[in-house]
């Protein structure tokens, strides 16, 4: 099963919509509740990140009997230092993001804690790709 969602830059009002759709789909597929929660918490953090920091992008979701894979690809600006971005408390978030209850440098560490596989590729001026996998078995 494959589906996609668009992410629009600074579209804070819709942050979480894609995560919500993914949650509903996983529920319909009778996937274990804990695995659903882990995946959607990670996707939600990543979705908020993409809306807050990126110039728009796309969420690609693939579900089979063994796993769910969510890939978020954006078109920049890219992360200069991924290692630093992974550190708890490091943030470049705007005041607007903080008003929403995020931006404390917890997003990427939260994502890492919830998924079985995490792969982040980023190039400044090109964009970021974040791939998150939760295994069912």
């Amino acid at each position: 099963m494959h589906f996609e969602y668009n992410i629009i830059e600074s579209d804070f009002a819709n942050a979480g919509k894609a995560s919500s759709e993914i949650k509903k789909t996983m529920k319909q597929l009778n996937i274990d509740a804990q695995k659903i929660k882990r995946m959607v918490v990670a996707v939600y953090e990543a979705e908020v990140n993409a809306i807050a920091h990126a110039f728009g992008g796309t969420i690609f979701v693939d579900i089979d009997s063994e796993k769910i894979c969510v890939l978020i690809k954006d078109s920049g600006p890219g992360i200069e230092n991924i290692e630093l971005a992974m550190q708890k408390g490091y943030s470049t978030a705007s005041a607007k993001v903080r008003e929403m209850g995020f931006g404390a440098g917890m997003g990427l560490p939260n994502i890492k804690n919830n998924v079985d596989d995490l792969d982040i590729k980023s190039e400044v001026g090109v964009g970021t790709e974040i791939k998150m996998v939760v295994n069912f078995i």
């Binding site: 942050a15 979480g16 919500s20 509740a33 918490v41 939600y44 209850g101 995020f102 404390a104 917890m106």
Partner: protein
């Protein structure tokens, strides 16, 4: 603790979910930072917060939290209430500060997550 007891203790208005006030809650968690809420494993929680926007509801949705209590007289808007209703949530609202709200509930025996 039952939702209706919680509402009585802190003199809260039940904004939506009146039909679910007999529901039992095990823990309370207070935060205005949604990323901290998203770190919790426990689910029978009342989220006590002063952060009143759509992301508060979205966060509760992702974390499987069914009850949100807005302190400091924060009032959820229509969009938030619709989303809360779609997710079968209970929304409470109190004029008390977050500190007083948490203090009263802790004193009455509501457990912290940690």
């Amino acid at each position: 603790m039952k939702i209706k007891e919680i509402a009585q203790i802190i003199d809260a208005k039940i904004v939506t979910g009146e039909d679910k006030i007999e529901r039992e809650i095990k823990y309370g968690f207070a935060s205005d930072l949604m990323s901290d809420v998203l770190t919790l494993d426990e689910e029978e929680i009342i989220l006590i917060t002063g952060l009143c926007n759509v992301q508060t509801i979205r966060t509760a949705e992702m974390a499987n939290i069914g009850v949100i209590l807005f302190a400091r007289n924060k009032k959820p808007n229509e969009e938030m209430l619709e989303l809360a209703q779609d997710n079968d949530m209970i929304i409470l609202q109190t004029k008390n500060s977050l500190f007083r709200t948490v203090g009263l509930l802790f004193k009455a025996g509501l457990n912290p997550v940690y």
